[in-house]
Assembly symmetry: D2
Homo-oligomer: 339 residues x 4
Amino acid sequence: MMKKVRIGLLGAGRIGKLHGENLAHAVPSAELYAVADPFMNDATREWAASMGIEKCYDDPEKIFSDPSIEAVFICSSTNTHAEFIMRAAKSGKHIFCEKPIDTDLNKIREALAAVEEAGVKLQVGFVRRFDHNHKMVRDTVASGKLGAPHIVKVTSRDPDHQSMDYIKVSGGIFMDMTIHDFDMVRYLAGSEVTEVTAYGAALSGAGYDQYDDVDTAIIMMKFENGALGVIDNSRAAHYGYDQRTEVHCDKGCVQVSNDLNDMSMISTAEGVEIAKPTWFFLERYNNAFISEAKEFTEAVLNDTETPVTGIDGIQPVKIALAAAKSLKEGRPVKISEVE
Amino acid sequence: MMKKVRIGLLGAGRIGKLHGENLAHAVPSAELYAVADPFMNDATREWAASMGIEKCYDDPEKIFSDPSIEAVFICSSTNTHAEFIMRAAKSGKHIFCEKPIDTDLNKIREALAAVEEAGVKLQVGFVRRFDHNHKMVRDTVASGKLGAPHIVKVTSRDPDHQSMDYIKVSGGIFMDMTIHDFDMVRYLAGSEVTEVTAYGAALSGAGYDQYDDVDTAIIMMKFENGALGVIDNSRAAHYGYDQRTEVHCDKGCVQVSNDLNDMSMISTAEGVEIAKPTWFFLERYNNAFISEAKEFTEAVLNDTETPVTGIDGIQPVKIALAAAKSLKEGRPVKISEVE
Amino acid sequence: MMKKVRIGLLGAGRIGKLHGENLAHAVPSAELYAVADPFMNDATREWAASMGIEKCYDDPEKIFSDPSIEAVFICSSTNTHAEFIMRAAKSGKHIFCEKPIDTDLNKIREALAAVEEAGVKLQVGFVRRFDHNHKMVRDTVASGKLGAPHIVKVTSRDPDHQSMDYIKVSGGIFMDMTIHDFDMVRYLAGSEVTEVTAYGAALSGAGYDQYDDVDTAIIMMKFENGALGVIDNSRAAHYGYDQRTEVHCDKGCVQVSNDLNDMSMISTAEGVEIAKPTWFFLERYNNAFISEAKEFTEAVLNDTETPVTGIDGIQPVKIALAAAKSLKEGRPVKISEVE
Amino acid sequence: MMKKVRIGLLGAGRIGKLHGENLAHAVPSAELYAVADPFMNDATREWAASMGIEKCYDDPEKIFSDPSIEAVFICSSTNTHAEFIMRAAKSGKHIFCEKPIDTDLNKIREALAAVEEAGVKLQVGFVRRFDHNHKMVRDTVASGKLGAPHIVKVTSRDPDHQSMDYIKVSGGIFMDMTIHDFDMVRYLAGSEVTEVTAYGAALSGAGYDQYDDVDTAIIMMKFENGALGVIDNSRAAHYGYDQRTEVHCDKGCVQVSNDLNDMSMISTAEGVEIAKPTWFFLERYNNAFISEAKEFTEAVLNDTETPVTGIDGIQPVKIALAAAKSLKEGRPVKISEVE
């Protein structure tokens, strides 16, 4: 009989349910055993039953204290991540934690120290690393066949505005949205960012400036290995989720365009229409969410390193802090200034 | 609690397991309850357990005689399809049957008559109708916005040769492989084929001519609505599963190219490389298999017509018979000649 | 000083002027010296002056009898082609002749015999062979790197209907339009067509059936080398000039899509729009017309074989005759039946 | 008879000959009458004869002093541009001048003042504005149908390294190469650049650092209208001339990819290959060179404004100076700092 990792799920909101369904149906090496959510109710219990989950709690402690549970998926609100990591680590459980661990570097460091001390595995939920497109770019760069990377480019645009209620508490575009891109450029370049310069503006009229935030940004960066990089962001592409990456290297260039809804082309006297990009992250990164959960459970089963570790949990936060400082102060900011 | 359709699976070979996994994990409206396979063994029992299937039989009769089972998936060998359809119909069970129902028109007619008499639902497994690409072509044509269809084109090439042991008993390229395309042209044109002319040749040197078969074919056809059509087939594309469709209409053209492994482009002094098409039907029609199972269970639950009915089970077989006759006799053959 | 070929142009209609402008401006090895047109007038004389043409005649004999003229471009009406070829051959002039030489095989044979006897060079104006796209397909097949050709496909659709006045005297779709495609399949396959089966229909409602003609056709064919082929034609694509070719070979496939007006993509909430194909042959084959004229003059200067010879002038006419016979009689027709 | 502009060509090097050939053959409204080059020799005289040019001089004064000449094309070395503009202006001749006018802002201002005073027309050779792709981006933005521009992106990579002898005297990447992109972003955004931040590095190992120059650069910018922009440059793409532009606007995005050598796709077991981008500016901007010459002569004939005026001659130089200063000083630089 196949060995499985018994998992407790912390948080049964949108992202918790997404992970729960993948663990239940698409990750053969996982046994999703328990779920804890402070707002546990009948609907969640019914959902849990349909997923074959045996235990439903409102107190996460029930999961930490169950010795049969080997690993947790932390999908609760961001402000609980660091604390839950520490409690899981102390209980000797392996940890998958949604991004970001925290927006405070000291809290992240404390959480990572607990993980280190306990000797448990940690994987941070930078799901885009598991997308077939971005992975192709990274693997091509990492193979060395194109030589050293020179220019790393990421276009990352959300399909449409979030509500201003969300924006108000989002932590700003760099911490909320670009953080994925900061992880991506590190992943693609295979090197750490050393400096950023950020330009940003509220151009859409949707009201980001009320909260001292921007809807449009371009961020340049330098990498330790000498490469240069640039990210361009928009909160509202309107045509779908625009997620393109490109690395120009010493001997050539690898780039990926968006996954499309289909591969159609309709040609008439009026024009030629092709399909739009997939709408948002649920559509685009559907398979990537499954892959990251599989790779986590396999790392646990085989006692190998997780593909996204503690360092990946803290570096993007530093870059986001530096980008925010650069935008505010109108100057290049070195990562060392915010550490 | 959501209403579910209790299903018995007949046949646990490759295609049976594929449907079983989809029913267990990806079709919320299905309850996969029992499986019967003449070669039932421990491995299949273990697989069934992991899918949450309660009953494992070697005798299909156990499924037909269980009044709690509302529907069956017939995934057994082709020569059992017609008989199983009749037994299921007599037991009052709704039927999903893999293609083809049979290669003998009279047996198909007998099976369809039993379905008719019992008033049960029947869906035939022409999975490509549920592919996002082909569906886009069909929906565009059916919408009427391009006007009447004039030219219907299907390119359908398998990635590589089957073994000659398989070819020997396959029934020939038209019944084994092109039958999917014969269904596809009817689906795209929204009209019945009235005549075909087939050209074929064994060009690969793989030995198809030993069995009076061909590896390469082009088939032209006429439709009742006046449109013309053409299918081109190869047993060995080598670069993947080449599945393109196109309909040129009175006001323009809709066409789809292949799904690719990713959306990458690698550019160097040596050339520019993009990703290959997905390898074969498991990769290309993965989501389509889930969709067809979902639509079947929903048709059962909602008592609506299934999306692929009895007529769709018999017409492609007629076209395949006519195509074989055309190739043999070197002349156009009307469908009415083989009915 | 560079050696040039002194050329006389026969016919100053649309296609004559097109060749004249290319010879004057874009073919350094040509000296366009004289033009003859039965409807010579002031406008044509002014055009000729602007092209640097020294002599304007209404009598073509003035060109045939001028010993300083080494080559002629026959761009007059089709019914004069065979006769002009014979007169040019007798005058010892090399000949570029627009397609078709004639629609009567005996007249073509007579003209080719005169060319043969005089030992002059003949090039027939199958301009598509000089298109960068189709040439890429042919060169890839001819290189042998994909192995033997199995399936040869040509999609050829004009952008919009010709006037019914034109259709009435056009000689029918196969002789007027598909003849280019019949040349193309021979060029791509590197082999002669041995049999065709043609399906055709008047579906547009534009009135082709009044003249016993069709606006939509599909033609299947067999080649001497065993390959199979198919052409699909429409008189009215509406979205532009649809000129795609594809050859599937033993080891893979080479295909070309259309040249587009530009490489743009406009993405909005409404959809994603790309550019249309170029509108018609003037736009699509602009550079190909220049290349064919260059290659002709270079063949004359270097005394090498022209790239499109007499055999290429007669074979497509045979295929067109066979296709018309097939459509009329509803059966496959061997080329040997019409020779 | 069509009215023509009589033109004198100053400089018969590579770019001078290119303009000369276009004026002689592809611009019906131009009469290329004279050429002056300090290194006038037999080869140039023979070239001039073949272009139908009547007068060949080594002294440009012969052109300025000929009252029959209405316009000049200044294609001489950059250090002569400002002086020749002034001499042409004083002679009352309209001026097409290759870019850049000069690298010294005061010299440019002096030249523009002379043009202004003389009331002659000036067009600066920013040829990319006439490319079908970039023009499509600009026209789409300018139409307003996508709303205000938010993000302006230019990728501009040369196919391969220039010789270090050239680099030594090139004036640096921003003045030599990026200057075209600085013009392009103004053209696309329809707004002036107000600030730039430049990152650059010598990563290729080809030796740019010896001359205090870089081979790789990313430049961010702000525009008066609030938009943000970014350019990425490489001296050596290796796969061809990479010239892509994109503008993300309030309602969507318009982008263009590269013109390719052809529209082919070759698919085998080894992979799928498409054509490379055209190699360099002669291939890519061939038609754009013709269009800019046509538009210039038409502006002269019709007494309308030229499409690229004096302001377009000075602004990109300012941006290049600001970018160089930014790279040197490691900070954002406002355009007003270098004016």
